[in-house]
Amino acid sequence: MTPLEQKLQQLNLKAMTRNLETTIAEAGARNLSVSATLEWLADMELEARQHRAIDRRFKCARLQLQPSIDAFHFHHHKSRVQAKNRILRLLDLTFLRQAPT
């Protein structure tokens, strides 16, 4: 592990540490500037953190499943067909945004 990788790890920047070597090599091949390379690495870190946050939310939620609306049979009964737009509208989570977090 290089000194830079060690320092990134110390700063708890796991995704940046993991991707540093390959990203720098690829950035060199693409002739990216230093700031563009840094931004690319920062984006990787942010994305990895977001994924970890969602994983934590899922575990704490005790859901056990990650179901999709694609598996919901709207045509099983007319009540579902009639409510389809309302059901789909729920998925935009507007009702959560209206409440304080």
């Binding site: 899922f58 704490c60 694609d70 009964h77 998925l91 304080p100």
Partner: protein, 161 residues
């Protein structure tokens, strides 16, 4: 509110919503009504009720499954009221799945007074979905959810990131 007979995918629909909310990085909790109320009852014994109530009142979205399968006595009805009332005051969203119409809530809760108080808070700013039809479980042996049985490929189990 998701109201309908057993096996019409109330829980599944609630979980779809909850997973969406998880993906939006929101704090969610899924529980059955009886599990929540048993936990709260037990917490009264060791004097941790206030702390335990927070578990159910603080999530941005609480999903309470299977309300109405068992009737609640006075103590558990009161505890259920505390959860709903606190969440109502704090303007936090709650999803409830039940097989019991509002008109029969007096039978599953301790009395009509508390049933009305709870229903009033739940109905305000609510969406009510009445899911009709026969049970989707009838065709299967023991599916985790009716929809999962019909289309298991579309349900991702504990996806590894």
């Amino acid at each position: 509110m998701l109201i309908g007979n057993p096996g019409v995918c109330k829980t599944f629909l609630a979980k779809i919503n909850a997973w969406k909310a998880c993906q939006a990085n929101q704090r969610i909790l899924f529980t059955t009504a009886m599990d929540m109320l048993n936990q709260l009852l037990a917490s009264q014994v060791d004097h941790s009720l206030v702390r335990k109530l927070k578990l159910y009142t603080e999530p941005t979205l609480l999903l309470v499954d299977e309300l109405g399968y068992l009737s609640l006595d006075q103590q558990t009805s009161n505890l259920f009221y505390q959860v709903i009332s606190t969440r109502h005051i704090q303007k936090r969203s709650t999803v409830i799945t039940t097989n019991t119409a509002f008109s029969d809530w007096g039978n599953i809760l301790f009395n009509t007074t508390i049933a009305t108080a709870i229903a009033d808070r739940l109905v305000e700013n609510s969406e009510i979905f009445l899911l009709g039809g026969d049970s989707l479980r009838k065709a299967g042996k023991n599916p985790t959810s009716p929809e999962e049985k019909l289309n298991p490929a579309l349900v991702r189990r504990r996806a590894v990131r």
